[in-house]
C-alpha cells in the first residue's frame, strides 16, 4: 500500500516507557478488558452501511430516510441537496447523516445554519432523537467554544461573525431552507461560499422556485464545476436550446448531488386530500369597495395589491392605505358593513365542528377574524412567523387543547406541526403554488391519520377568481401534489410565475385581452405538465 500515510500515535509509547522505568502503576485487568470490549463495540468494520441504526433508541427512522442517508454518504460523498417534499423529514435525514459521521469520527466541528425561528426546534430534535448536543449561537460566544453550533444565517453573516467563521475549519455544514442561497449576489451566498466545508448538506423543499439558474448556483456551492461554469451551463441548458438529450444529461447530473423523495415513492400510505373550492359572492357594499380600489391609481402601490386585499377584508385595505397616507378611499372602507368570506368561514367552522387551521395573507385580516370569531363564541389563536419559539409552542399547545381554530399568516408556515388537525381553510390564496403546498404540508405530513379537507375561498368576479381558475382549478394542482410544479416551471422557463400573473392582470387593457393571456398561460402549463408526465416514469433522482 504505497503512498498512503500511516501515522502512529506516540503517546502510548512514551507513557509506557515511563511506567516501566518507575515500575508502575499498572491498571486493573478487569477494567483493561472492559476497555477492549467497549472499543470493539464502537468499531465500524465496513466503509458501507449505516452504523447509526444501532445508536437510536428513541425513534425509528422511516425507510426512505435511511436510504437517503446512505445514498448521501456512500454515493455523494456527503455533499448533497436534500430536496424531499415538505413533511417527509429532511431534518431527520440530515440528523442521520450527521450522527453517522460523528460515530465514525469523520466529523467533529459542525455548523448548522437555519432560519432564526427554527433554531430551537433543531436543537431539540437533535438532542431528543439523536443525542447530539448542539448549542444555539449567542452573541460573543466565540465560534470555537463548542463543536456543534446552530445559528441563524442572519447572525452568521454579520461582519464580525463572518470574519471568524471563515477562519474556522468546519467538517460539516448543514443549511436549512437553502433556497435562500439561490441568488449569487447575496451576502448569504457569499458566506456559504467562503466557509470551509468538507461535507455539506443543503435542505430545501423547493430547489428550483422559478429559474434554472437557481439550481446551478445551489449545486455550484456544493460542488463547483459539477455543472460546468455559468456560461457553459446556460449555453447548453437554457430551455430555448436544450435538446431532449441534454435534458436527460441535466437530470442525470443533478441526480448525482440531489435526493428528492416524493410522497408517492416513500411507500407510506398517505391519507387523502379532499379539495373543495368555495366561490363567494361579495355583498353590495364590499363590491363598492372593490370597484373603488380597482379604479384607484397611485405611483406608490399597485392596484392589484389593493384588489387582493379587498378580497380578504376591508381591514387589510385600510391598513395598507393608512401606511401610505392615502385617505381618499376611506369612505368606501367605512361603508362596508359585513365580510362575506368571514361569514362563510364561520358557517363552515360550525359545521365542521372540529379543529380548523385558517391561513390568510394579511395580518389585519388575521386580527379581524379573531375578533369576529370571538363575537360568535369561537375561540381562536393567532400564529405568525415572527413569534418567539416559546410563544409558537404555546400557541400550538393552546390550539391542540383549548382553541378550535388557529389563524396563521403566511410567514407562520415554516416549522409548524399540526397533525392533530384535519381541516384547512385558505381564506385567501397565495399566488405561488409552492407556498400553498407548504401550508397544506403543516397538517398533511406523516403522522396524519385522517383524510385532510382543504377549503379554498375565492370571491367571484375578482382577480382572485381568475387566479383560482387558472392555477388551482384547471391545472388541478391540488390533486396532484404540487411537488411536480418545480419541474414544470423549469421546463417552461416561466421565469417567475407570480410576476407573470401580476403582469397579465395589471397590464391587460381589456377583460378580453386578459382572458386570452390567461388561457395561453393555462394551456402552456398544461402542455408542460403532459410533457412532464411522459418523462416522469424516470425518477428525478437516481434509484
Amino acid at each position: 500500500m504505497k503512498n498512503i500515510t500511516v501515522s502512529f500515535n506516540p503517546e502510548w509509547r512514551q507513557i509506557f516507557e515511563k511506567k516501566v522505568a518507575e515500575d508502575g502503576p499498572w491498571c486493573n485487568y478487569d477494567l483493561y478488558k472492559l476497555a477492549i470490549k467497549s472499543a470493539k463495540s464502537t468499531l465500524v468494520p465496513d466503509f458501507h452501511g449505516l452504523k447509526v441504526k444501532e445508536f437510536l433508541a428513541n425513534f425509528e427512522p422511516l425507510e426512505h430516510q435511511l436510504q437517503t442517508a446512505q445514498e448521501v454518504i456512500e454515493k455523494m460523498n456527503g455533499k448533497a441537496i436534500l430536496a424531499d417534499e415538505v413533511g417527509l423529514g429532511k431534518t431527520i435525514e440530515a440528523g442521520l447523516i450527521l450522527k453517522e459521521y460523528l460515530i465514525r469520527g469523520l466529523v467533529k466541528k459542525v455548523l448548522i445554519l437555519v432560519p432564526a425561528s427554527l433554531a430551537s426546534q433543531w436543537s431539540q430534535e437533535l438532542i431528543e432523537k439523536f443525542h447530539i448536543p448542539a448549542v444555539i449561537y449567542k452573541k460573543n460566544m466565540g465560534w470555537n467554544s463548542y463543536n456543534i453550533f446552530i445559528s441563524s444565517i442572519d447572525m452568521a453573516k454579520r461582519a464580525e461573525n463572518m470574519e471568524q467563521l471563515v477562519q474556522e475549519e468546519f467538517d460539516l455544514i448543514i443549511i436549512d431552507e437553502a433556497h435562500k442561497l439561490k441568488n449569487k449576489q447575496t451576502k448569504n451566498y457569499e458566506l456559504v461560499q467562503k466557509l470551509s466545508k468538507k461535507y455539506c448538506l443543503l435542505l430545501t423543499a423547493t430547489p428550483i422556485q422559478n429559474k434554472l439558474e437557481e439550481i446551478f448556483y445551489l449545486v455550484s456551492l456544493l460542488k463547483p464545476g459539477h455543472l460546468g461554469n455559468y456560461e457553459a451551463f446556460m449555453k447548453r441548458f437554457s430551455t430555448a436550446k436544450r435538446s431532449v438529450q441534454d435534458d436527460h444529461i441535466l437530470k442525470e447530473l443533478i441526480s448525482k448531488v440531489m435526493v428528492r423523495n416524493r410522497r408517492e415513492n416513500t411507500g407510506i400510505e398517505w391519507t387523502k386530500r379532499n379539495v373543495e373550492t368555495i366561490f363567494i359572492e361579495m355583498s353590495p357594499t364590499e363590491r363598492v369597495l372593490y370597484d373603488a380600489v380597482s379604479k384607484f391609481r397611485s405611483d406608490f402601490m399597485s392596484t392589484l395589491i389593493l384588489q387582493r386585499e379587498a378580497c380578504s377584508s376591508r381591514e387589510a385595505v385600510y391598513f395598507t392605505l393608512k401606511n401610505c397616507g392615502h385617505d381618499g378611499l376611506l369612505p368606501y372602507i367605512e361603508q362596508v358593513d359585513r365580510n362575506s368570506k368571514a361569514e362563510k368561514a364561520l358557517e363552515l367552522i360550525q359545521k365542521i365542528n372540529d379543529k380548523v387551521l385558517i391561513f390568510t395573507e394579511y395580518r389585519a385580516t388575521q386580527l379581524y377574524l379573531q375578533w369576529y370569531f370571538k363575537m360568535n363564541g369561537i375561540i381562536s389563536v393567532p400564529f405568525r412567523g415572527g413569534f418567539k419559539r416559546s410563544k409558537k409552542d404555546w400557541m400550538q399547545m393552546l390550539f391542540q387543547n383549548r382553541a378550535q381554530v388557529m389563524i396563521a399568516t403566511e410567514a407562520g408556515g415554516e416549522g409548524l406541526n399540526l397533525q392533530f388537525c384535519h381541516n384547512i381553510i385558505n381564506f385567501d390564496l397565495p399566488w405561488n403554488p409552492m407556498r400553498l403546498e407548504q401550508r397544506i404540508g403543516r397538517i398533511h405530513r406523516f403522522g396524519q391519520t385522517e383524510d385532510v379537507n382543504i377549503y379554498n375561498f375565492a370571491t367571484k368576479n375578482t382577480v382572485e377568481e381568475h387566479v383560482m381558475r387558472i392555477l388551482y382549478e384547471k391545472i388541478q394542482l391540488f390533486e396532484d401534489v404540487v411537488g411536480e410544479l418545480d419541474d414544470i416551471l423549469t421546463r417552461l422557463e416561466v421565469k417567475n410565475l407570480e410576476k407573470h400573473l401580476v403582469d397579465i392582470l395589471s397590464k391587460s387593457k381589456t377583460e378580453g385581452e386578459m382572458r386570452v393571456k390567461m388561457d395561453n398561460l393555462t394551456s402552456l402549463i398544461e402542455f408542460a405538465k403532459e410533457l412532464g408526465n411522459e418523462s416522469h416514469s424516470h425518477r428525478v433522482y437516481s434509484s
Binding site: 502510548w12 460523498n77 459539477h226
Partner: protein
C-alpha cells in the same frame, strides 16, 4: 352500538388506533425483531455499567431489572461529573466530599421500567443506550485509565516475557472504517502472534508474580520490541488490498478536474485555493493507528 359490534369482532378501540398509527408511520414487519435486538443490547449495557462501577469501588445503591443506582467515588466524580470548581473549593476549605449519585435505566420499554420513560417524572434518571453521550463518556474515561498493564500468569513455571499492543486502525478518506488488532511479541524468541487478547483470555493472570515462579530475562529490549510491533503493523497494512485508497484518489482527481473547469482562467482565486485544500483534506486516503492499550504479559507459553 358501534362499540358492541367492534367488540364482537374482537378488535378494541385501542387496537384500531394502533393499527391506524402503524399504517401512518409505515412500520415494517421487522419492527419487533429490531426491538428484541435492542433489548439484548440494553442488557449488555446494563451489565457493562454494573461491572464498571463495581470495579471502580462505587457503592451500588439499587439494582433491579435494568435499573441501576450508584454512588460515585471521588475519583469517578472527578472523571465524569465535570465540576472542577466544586472539587477545588473542597480542597481549599477542607469540607467533606459528597460525590454524586447517578441513576441509570437501560430499558425503559419493559413493563417494570415503564415509569422511567417519562422524562418529567424521572428527572434524575438517565436513559442509557448505545448512542447516549454518557455511555461514551464512560467508555472514554475507562479507556484513559486502563491503557497500560503488567500481568503474570498464576503458575509455578518460568515465565516468558510478552509485549502486547491492542491497536485501533482507522482507514480514512471521505469514508471511514476501523478495525481492532491485538498483537503480542515474545521478547525472547521474537515470535509475533495476532488475536493476543483472546488467546490469553482464559489464562489466570495476576498483577503480582506467584511465589514459586520467575521471569526469564528478555533478549529483545522494549524499545526494539515496540519498533518490531510497529513494523509488523506497517508490513501487514502494506500487503492489504488498497482498492479503497485507489478509488478515493480517483474521486479526488475527478473533483479537482471539475473544480479546474469551474475556475478555468482564475486558478489564483482565493476560493479556488481553499476548495482545493478542502478536497485534499477530505479525499486523501490515510491510515491512523492508535494504541488502545497494552503492556507486559509474563506467560508460561512461549508460543500459541
Amino acid at each position: 352500538m358501534t362499540k358492541r359490534i367492534k367488540h364482537t369482532r374482537g378488535i378494541s378501540n385501542a387496537e384500531l388506533q394502533r393499527k391506524k398509527q402503524e399504517k401512518a408511520y409505515g412500520f415494517d414487519s421487522h419492527y419487533l425483531t429490531k426491538w428484541r435486538k435492542h433489548h439484548v443490547q440494553s442488557q449488555e449495557i446494563h451489565d457493562f455499567l454494573h461491572d464498571y462501577f463495581v470495579l471502580n469501588q462505587c457503592e451500588i445503591l439499587e439494582k433491579s431489572g435494568q435499573f441501576l443506582s450508584v454512588k460515585l467515588t471521588v475519583d469517578l466524580d472527578k472523571a465524569l461529573m465535570n465540576r472542577p470548581f466544586y472539587w477545588h473549593y473542597l480542597e481549599k476549605t477542607g469540607g467533606e466530599a459528597n460525590p454524586s449519585v447517578l441513576n441509570f435505566v437501560t430499558d425503559w420499554t419493559s413493563e417494570e421500567n415503564k415509569k422511567y420513560a417519562d422524562p418529567k417524572k424521572a428527572k434524575d434518571i438517565e436513559k442509557i443506550h448505545f448512542g447516549s453521550t454518557r455511555l461514551h463518556q464512560i467508555f472514554e474515561a475507562n479507556q484513559k485509565v486502563s491503557s497500560h498493564i503488567r500481568l503474570y500468569e498464576n503458575c509455578q513455571n518460568a515465565l516468558f516475557p510478552w509485549l502486547c499492543q491492542n491497536f485501533i486502525i482507522s482507514y480514512k478518506c471521505e469514508k471511514l472504517k476501523s478495525v481492532f488488532l491485538s498483537v503480542g511479541l515474545n521478547l525472547i524468541n521474537g515470535n509475533i502472534i495476532e488475536d493476543f487478547d483472546s488467546k490469553v483470555g482464559d489464562l489466570d493472570l495476576k498483577p503480582k508474580i506467584a511465589d514459586l515462579s520467575y521471569t526469564l530475562h528478555p533478549f529483545i529490549t522494549l524499545n526494539s520490541g515496540l519498533n518490531r510491533l510497529e513494523n509488523y503493523v506497517k508490513e501487514k497494512l502494506s500487503t492489504e488490498d488498497n482498492g479503497w485508497a485507489v478509488e478515493a484518489r480517483y474521486r479526488l482527481e475527478n473533483e479537482i478536474n471539475l473544480l479546474n473547469e469551474f475556475y478555468e482562467d482564475d486558478l489564483n482565486n482565493e476560493i479556488y485555493q481553499k476548495e482545493v485544500k478542502d478536497l485534499n483534506d477530505l479525499f486523501t486516503p490515510k491510515i491512523d493507528v492508535r494504541v488502545l492499550n497494552g503492556g507486559l504479559f509474563y506467560l508460561s507459553n512461549s508460543n500459541f
